[in-house]
């Protein structure tokens, strides 16, 4: 592209901007090639970059300052009955000001001595502030009372810097071993008749899984010392306070299992009163296929483990860890969210790009419309021009017409064609409350007060007439005199209070303009929607689609939303859809012929004439007498619900006009 050309184009655009109007953005989009390609690349790349960044950010924010809590040692080995110290630490990469945490221990095994603030048996609270280093240590002391193994856990820990930044919800866990007292060791443990896998007397913690359908396990215990007593307790981590003691039946302990993790404690007590405790964790999945413990083992990815010094706790101990037991929701959720956000951004950007094109198209459409409107006007003018002749012709026709119609009617009278619509003594009564309750509240109040005055309002009062096949009936009357009501009754939408209507409703085709269009849909979609509603089958619409478009003169606009149509276009389309049916046997036109532009009116009147000659029965509702005079063979005048006159168009219309003038 030569730079000259570009300059010219730019100048053009500038002019357009000065003119204003929707053309501006539209023309901008025609600056194709390089810039657009650049934009496209950017639009594609930006969301990707954002997505990647967000994925990274999720990891980064958690790790940033490296706050952690940990124990002084990887594991402890304490003697029963001896005061034993344990150091709990908090650390970070940068100096921090205050720390706070809870230390959880098993109160049935350890006795708390000192070092923090005892909240309740099993929980010691530690907090400190005014620290200005990047590590902090607190020494706690416990006395082991029961031998075996136990765990001490730091939970709910938070490390806060001077400016309030920091990390919370840190955790750590450590194992404590207390050598078994004399004679407390078990020799063998059998679960459901099978020896417990990996059992050795010195190890006091075991974990196993059972199938989801197992409701219980059977536990058998053999001891090294005959005199040692055994108690078995079972329960879950959630209800630590009230575990059940299980009694042996024939040396077999039957333990009921719940869904999730169950803990079984076997406490042995030797002759000298010293106790030891073995723990067995039994996991019963709720649904056998639900993935469990995706965490343990790959501590690298698990954020919680990362903040834990004693991260590689073994499987069984994971129970006390707060349960590494369900799939990693946060991660999945984060990914889903990220993808969605990325999608959103992508679509917004795409939209922005698209909007430009759309505006351009709309602009084109508008221009086309203006042009077609102009040309139509032109054409109309042309018609007017050439047709002084045309006008005369219609006048001639009119002159001829009554005679012809009269002749036709005489013929009709002679032949007495079948009666198509029979309206017999129809009365339509509306219950009208004096001022209508539109809300339940109002209605209730009125009902309670007895104020519900019901006014009966007769929209139609004893109206009778009949329509023979092939007649063109005009119904006139001032606004609100019941014209539409009679139409609704004839088309079957309303059932009259008294009286009878005889008509084959399948033959009726009702045409009112501008109704039933959905402005958010395209012309094409509206053709199908409206067609289906007035009873065309899909095949029929498929077949006639081209005809409809052609008659409505909307070629090229059918994929455009009706919202963007002019009102003339809408009425043309409505008319085309309703009259495409070869000859609807009864056609009802509700104020159709008095609207629309000149051209459309001529065309539609021609179509109506065609239908009349094709043998359709037509009902035209209008309050304009000129339309009625021109087209009808018989006129029904309804005034305030009462049938005033039936007769020849000329006479009835004269009377009607006279009354109107009198009113004025």
């Amino acid at each position: 592209m030569g730079s000259n050309k570009v300059l010219k184009k730019a100048a053009k655009i500038e002019k357009k901007v000065k003119k204003g109007g929707p053309g501006f953005l539209g023309t901008c989009a025609s600056h194709k090639s390089f810039r657009e390609r650049l934009h496209k690349t950017f639009y594609a790349a930006a969301p990707l970059a954002v997505a990647v960044f967000m994925l990274l950010a999720i990891d980064l924010t958690v790790q940033a300052a490296g706050e952690r809590v940990y124990f002084g040692s990887e594991g402890y080995r304490w003697e029963a009955g001896v005061i034993s110290p344990i150091g709990v630490y908090a650390g970070a990469d940068t100096p921090f000001a205050s720390v706070e945490w809870n230390v959880y221990y098993d109160a049935s095994v350890l006795e708390y001595v000192s070092g923090g603030e005892l909240m309740e048996p099993g929980v010691v609270h530690v907090s400190a502030s005014g620290i200005s280093g990047n590590s902090y240590m607190q020494m706690l002391q416990f006395i082991p009372r029961v031998s075996g193994g136990t765990q001490i856990r730091i939970g709910d820990a938070s490390v806060t810097g001077e400016n309030g930044e920091g990390a919370s919800n840190l955790q750590a866990v450590v194992n404590v071993e207390i050598p078994l007292a004399q004679g407390c060791a078990m020799e063998e443990v059998r679960v459901n008749g099978m020896p417990l896998e990996g059992f050795s007397p010195e190890v006091t913690f075991y974990a196993m899984e059972v199938a989801a359908r197992d409701g219980q396990i059977e536990l058998e215990v053999n001891l090294t010392d005959e005199r040692t007593q055994v108690t078995v307790e079972a329960g879950t981590l959630q209800n630590v306070g009230n575990w059940q003691t299980v009694e042996a039946a024939d040396g077999v302990y039957q333990i009921q299992l719940r869904d999730g993790e169950n803990i079984v404690h076997v406490v042995t007590q030797n002759v000298s009163g010293e106790r030891a405790r073995y723990a067995l964790s039994v996991t019963k999945p709720e649904n056998p296929q639900v993935m469990v413990d995706g965490n343990d083992g790959n501590g690298n990815e698990d954020l919680r483990n990362e903040s834990t010094e004693a991260g590689d706790s073994n499987d069984g101990l994971a129970a006390a860890n707060g349960g590494g037991h369900r799939p990693d929701y946060e991660k999945v959720l984060a990914v889903v969210l990220t993808v969605t956000v990325a999608l959103l951004i992508a679509s917004t950007m795409f939209l922005l790009c698209k909007e430009k094109k759309r505006r351009e198209r709309r602009y084109r459409l508008q221009k086309a419309r203006r042009r077609s409107g102009g040309s139509r006007r032109g054409r109309g003018g042309g018609r007017r021009g050439q047709g002084r002749r045309g006008g005369f012709q219609t006048v001639d026709l009119k002159k001829e017409n009554p005679q012809r119609l009269d002749a036709g009617r005489n013929q009709i009278l002679l032949e007495e064609p079948e009666i198509e619509i029979m309206v017999e003594h129809v009365t339509m009564e509306f219950k009208h409350e004096s001022d209508e309750a539109t809300s339940i509240k109002e209605m209730l109040i009125r009902t309670v007060k007895g104020q519900r005055k019901v006014e009966r309002f007769k929209a139609l009062d004893d109206v009778s007439f009949m329509v023979r096949k092939g007649e063109v009936i005009g119904i006139i009357g001032t606004n609100g005199s019941g014209k539409s009501t009679i139409l609704k009754i004839i088309s079957g939408a309303l059932i009259p209070t008294t009286g009878k209507i005889t008509v084959d409703r399948n033959k009726i085709q009702l045409l009112t303009l501008g109704t039933g269009f959905d402005f958010e849909l395209t012309g094409r979609e509206n053709v199908y929607l409206n067609g289906s509603i007035i009873g065309y089958t899909k095949e029929y619409i498929d077949e006639k689609y081209e005809d409809i478009v052609k008659f409505a003169e909307l070629e090229g606009f059918m994929e455009e939303k009706v919202r963007n149509y002019s009102s003339g276009m809408v009425s043309r389309l409505g008319f085309a859809i309703a009259t495409v049916r070869d000859t609807p046997e009864i056609l009802i036109l509700d104020e159709v012929l008095s609207v629309g532009d000149m051209f459309f009116r001529q065309k539609s009147e021609a179509r109506i004439q065609e239908m009349i000659h094709g043998g359709s029965t037509v009902l035209i509702v209008s309050h304009s007498t000129s339309v009625i005079r021109k087209n009808c063979t018989k006129v029904v005048w309804i005034e305030k619900g009462i049938l005033r006159a039936i007769g020849k168009p000329g006479e009835v219309c004269d009377a009607y006009e006279k009354m109107n003038e009198a009113v004025k």
Binding site: N287, P327, I440, T512, T515, G516, T537
Partner: protein, 260 residues
Amino acid sequence: MTKQEQKEQRKQYWFVIRELTSREIKRKYSRSYLGIIWSVLNPLLSMCVISLIFTQLFRRSIENFPIYYLTGSIVWQLFTGATNAAMTSLVDNKMLLIKVKFPMDIFILSRVYTSLVNFLYSLVAYVIMLVVFRVTPCWTMALAPVIVLFLLLFSLGIAHVLATAYVFFGDVKHLYSVLLTLWMYMSALFYPVDQLKGIVKMVIQINPVFNYIDCMRTIVMKGQLPAMTQMIYIAAWGIVMYLVGFVVFNRHRNDIMKKL
């Protein structure tokens, strides 16, 4: 009317419903670029939000919270979507009502059907999430259509009643939206029912919508059949509600036309 004509009429009836439905859907998304994809995204997003908030709270008591929520949510959406849209269907289509040659029910029916189509789209999201959270398919899931069918009957019944009422009183719309909020909290969408006690629990267990949700959860998450009594309960609610709606609507059919 001959059989042939009846058949044709039914075909036409179906065509109208499909056209109306496609209009509803196109209309709903006519200004959005992603369009129908929103039907898939919406439940996913709300699942994310709710899960992020509540997983911490209900960690212990609900296994697989996202699926628990999503199951409830899509069933709930089907119900509210259907009833809410159908409520205004008669008033919205005032103009078409006079033209149409079918019973007016067709508009209510089409809105409910729209909601069903929407539901089917969200099922896509649901199935994806089932795979992500590794819920294995089991044969009991085949029962889902039956539950959905009863739920549809139930919704249709309510929709008929609401649509009738809305013609006469515009307030119904606002009243119903308040009622729906209460109803939602009573349907245990995002909390476990076991922990509740007393009258609240009783109300929830009577609540038919909760029973539909609960059945759905049972067959999908636990892979078990719901209790026979519960199945009968939901079936009865569906059928009875449908009949009630039908009777109410038919009785006021002419009044509706007069009013409009």
